[in-house]
């Protein structure tokens, strides 16, 4: 067994997981909300990228922003519809509404894109890199680089900029934030739009690794859930580290035991972590 290859696989997988989860991390951190339509938004991002490339003839680099724009629109509309529930922090209704939204997206995507699987080929996914015994693609390199840049930029924005400060104020106490002159509704809409863009970006980068189906999305929600909870709710750095840790765990567990049980084992670890550290693995629960 090539352990170094497993390490590479784990690193790529980990960055992919972190990238898929980042939208939800911010959503949960700022708005204290969940979106169970996240997986279907990932699916939509993948299909819009595929449609842009294979049907509209767009270059990959333009298909990505197209997918992100659609993600922004979907996120915005979703939040617009359930804004009152958001303001009341009615989590049960929000869970049901977002779950329903996911099914609507699934049905609409099947209607528009068809129910057969597709391959999202990109110029990067078709270029293999061999380095000694190691194998990966340029797509893998792109996932790692974009994930690192995205997380670094987001961490900087949240910690150092006015926009980040506003988001943190709303995250801590939306009602007190209103008294500081912040339009909380606009922040919530912005956060959902951001989530839509982030998950579409993740899909455009990660989905070329596997065939895409309009029925996919469940695995992505589960992965996101694990990463966000392990990382500490709303912690950007925690999510990055948790994504990376999960990726390495799945890669090595798959290699040493069996890929079939990797996610079940990941959940066993999640349960153990939550029992020992209820706030997740982040240095300080609720930290950034």
């Amino acid at each position: 067994m090539n352990l170094t290859q497993q390490l590479v696989n784990g690193i790529v997988l980990g960055h992919a997981y972190a990238l898929i989860a980042i939208g939800w991390t911010v959503l949960l951190g700022v708005a204290r909300l969940v979106n169970f339509g996240h997986g279907q938004m990932y699916m939509l991002g993948a299909f819009v990228t595929w449609y842009g490339i294979s049907r509209l003839g767009l270059p990959y680099i333009l298909a990505i922003p197209l997918a992100m724009l659609v993600g922004v629109a979907v996120g915005y509309v979703m939040q617009r519809v359930m804004l009152q529930l958001t303001l009341k922090q009615d989590l049960v209704s929000i869970m049901i509404v977002t779950l329903g939204f996911g099914y609507v997206l699934h049905g609409a995507a099947a209607l528009f894109f068809g129910s057969t699987g597709q391959i999202l080929s990109t110029p990067l996914s078709m270029e293999d890199v061999y380095w000694g015994d190691l194998w990966f693609t340029y797509q893998d390199i792109a996932i790692v680089i974009v994930a690192i840049l995205f997380f670094a930029a987001l961490k900087y924005i949240i910690d150092r900029t006015r926009l980040g400060r506003l988001a943190r104020m709303v995250a801590e106490d939306p009602q007190l934030a209103e008294l500081a002159g912040i339009n909380v509704k606009r922040v919530y809409l912005g956060v959902f739009a951001f989530e839509g863009a982030a998950v579409a970006l993740a899909a455009a980068l990660v989905a070329p690794r596997t065939p895409i189906l309009t029925s996919m999305g469940f695995d992505e929600v589960i992965i996101t859930f694990v990463v966000v909870v392990l990382g500490g709710i709303g912690s950007v750095l925690g999510s990055y580290l948790a994504g990376l840790a999960l990726g390495l765990f799945v890669a090595f567990f798959g290699a040493f035991v069996s890929p079939a049980y990797a996610m079940a084992a990941a959940f066993a670890v999640l349960i153990a972590v939550l029992v020992i550290r209820p706030g997740g693995l982040a240095v300080s629960p609720g930290g950034r």
């Binding site: 400060r165 943190r168 104020m169 801590e172 007190l176 934030a177 209103e178 008294l179 500081a180 002159g181």
Partner: protein, 245 residues
């Protein structure tokens, strides 16, 4: 003193689930005036200041008008009223506990115009007013004492350039010496041009600093007058259930 009210309400009514919690024909706070609103628990004091800002942790039904410099702001959401210059320092949670003092003081209304009669205090000015905050500028809000949080709450409001400031029970949880310090600071802010409506349960402390006092009971005005007129008004003691106040 300019007699035009900076802050005025007409026919203000607030109801929770059909129960009328506040019913006030008119309240007016003039330029550079410090008006105190006192009353026992449940008199409607916090309901009054919260409704002035259209802000509540519950879902009350509010009717009537709130005017700021003659402009009807009743239909504006809370954040727009803040931008218009009406600032509320609520009871209880005053600061963002996961942010440093410095971050709490970073103004969130950078694009808000200074406007007529509005003065946006700089960070240096609020540090000069509250030197303790400068010493604690790198501490998180959660690490501050009750008095320091009260100072930071006022300082945060000053950074936003208030036209009128609403203070809800600033003495709660503070040692008597700190209560005097905070209220004297509020008085000095009024003397330097600020307009303040102070809601306070501690009548003794409030009456020392206010220009006028309004006594509320069960959501209605029971008595109103200057501080000297109200100082020995027996209705105040009666409103506090006959207790010595």
């Amino acid at each position: 003193m300019n007699t035009r009210p900076v802050l005025e309400t007409t026919d203000l009514k607030v109801a929770y689930g059909g129960n009328l919690a506040l019913d006030l024909p008119r309240i007016a706070v003039r330029e550079r005036e410090l008006v105190g609103v006192v009353g026992a628990n449940g008199a409607g004091k916090s309901t009054l200041v919260n409704s002035l800002l259209g802000w509540s942790r519950g879902s009350p039904k509010v009717s009537g008008k709130v005017l700021l410099d003659g402009r009807d702001i009743s239909a504006l959401p809370p954040h727009e009223r803040v931008k218009a210059g009406l600032l509320l320092i609520p009871e209880g949670k005053l600061v963002f506990t996961q942010m440093s003092t410095e971050e709490n003081l970073a103004s969130t209304a950078d694009d808000a115009p200074a406007g007529q009669g509005r003065r946006r205090y700089s960070t240096d000015e609020v540090y000069a007013l509250f030197p303790r905050l400068y010493e604690r500028r790198h501490h998180l809000g959660s690490q501050l004492s009750g008095g320091e949080r009260q100072m930071l709450g006022i300082a945060r409001a000053l950074r936003l350039g208030p036209r009128a400031l609403l203070l809800d029970e600033p003495s709660i949880g503070l040692a008597p010496r700190l209560v005097s310090t905070v209220l004297e600071t509020v008085r000095s802010l009024v003397d330097s041009g600020l307009t303040v409506l102070l809601v306070e349960q501690n009548v003794h402390a409030a009456i020392e600093v206010v220009d006028r006092l309004i006594l509320l009971e069960r959501g209605r005005i029971l008595a109103e007058g200057t501080a000297s007129e109200m100082r020995d008004d027996p209705r105040i003691a009666e409103a506090y259930l006959g207790a010595h106040v």
